[in-house]
Amino acid sequence: MPERPRIRLVPLAASLAVFALVLRAVHALPDTATGLSAEMTAGAKASGIKNVVTAVLLDFRGYDTLLEIAVLMLATIAVLSLRTDPDALSRRISGVAGPVLGALTRAYVPIMIVVAGHLVWIGSSGPGGAFQGGAVLGAAGILLALSGFARPRWSSGAPMRWVLAVGLLTFIAVALLPLALGGTLLQYPDESRKSLVLLVEILLTLSIGASLTSLFLASASDTSEGERR
């Protein structure tokens, strides 16, 4: 780099050392390994969920997923706490909207919502599921925000905070439900396992979609703030 002639030795040495270590470590591994895939596949088959990844995320390791939704909500709140304007979530994003983006949005957002729904629906049998559906929903939400669509009135202040929290709170409620039935946290009863997993999946899709959108809304700048100082 012309502006920085000296070579930074410490970062270079650290990254090369890590690289060499990892390569050596990976080289020492046997060529085949099954990990936990046998148990997981059998478990998923028993509960009637054909996509094993979905079963791992929502059932076997559902606790990770619960905390991960917490991570998303926490990040949104953390981003909000850095705003100088308290109503960051309810502003309209300005500056990028144009007729082309508007038309594109009108065309694509309904399609994206359909795609998200489809991803969730097939998620228990084929590739797809809450994470992918939620991600597509989030992308649709960001597109809507970027094209400057007017927001509904509930999208500011306390109601918006409810929308943000309700996904995590409902997930917690579903996670606590088995406690009343004599199970542990997230222990779905066998007879209703598949439908509960589907319920959680729909919930998660909406929640991830809403979280990603609000994550963007919370951080998106508007012109006025940039010129504050």
């Binding site: 780099m1 502006e3 996509n51 990844v53 979905t54 500056g95 991803l119 590739p127 797809g128 599921g129 994470f131 992918q132 991600a135 597509v136 989030g138 992308a139 960001i142 970027l146 990603l212 994550l215 963007f216 951080s219 998106a220 700048s221 012109t223 940039g226 010129e227 100082r229």
Partner: protein
């Protein structure tokens, strides 16, 4: 020979990553980052992980890219009276 394709794909991914980090114009860096995400999605397909591919395309390239473009826009839009003299601010064309 799929292995040749794999090697080329990985080499491209690394090349894009190096390019993204060595750009002085932050806008180009971010664009290369988004392209990086799309190539990663292809890698996931090659690794028989369509679930990951979908999430990577939507989140890794889409949402993260949007966040970064927004940040770059913020850094470019703000005209501050005492901007850092040591380094040109992000997104300003240098040449």
């Amino acid at each position: 020979m799929m292995i040749v394709f794999d090697i080329l794909l990985v080499a491209t991914i690394i090349w894009i990553a190096v390019g993204s980090l060595s750009q002085r114009q932050m806008f180009k860096s971010v664009v290369m980052f988004v392209i990086f995400g799309l190539f990663m999605a292809i890698a996931w397909i090659r690794l028989s992980s369509p679930d990951v591919a979908m999430a990577e395309a939507a989140i890794g390239a889409g949402v993260t890219g949007a966040l970064m473009l927004d940040a770059i826009g913020h850094l470019r839009r703000s005209e501050t009276p005492y901007a850092s003299a040591a380094e040109p601010e992000g997104g300003e064309p240098d040449a």
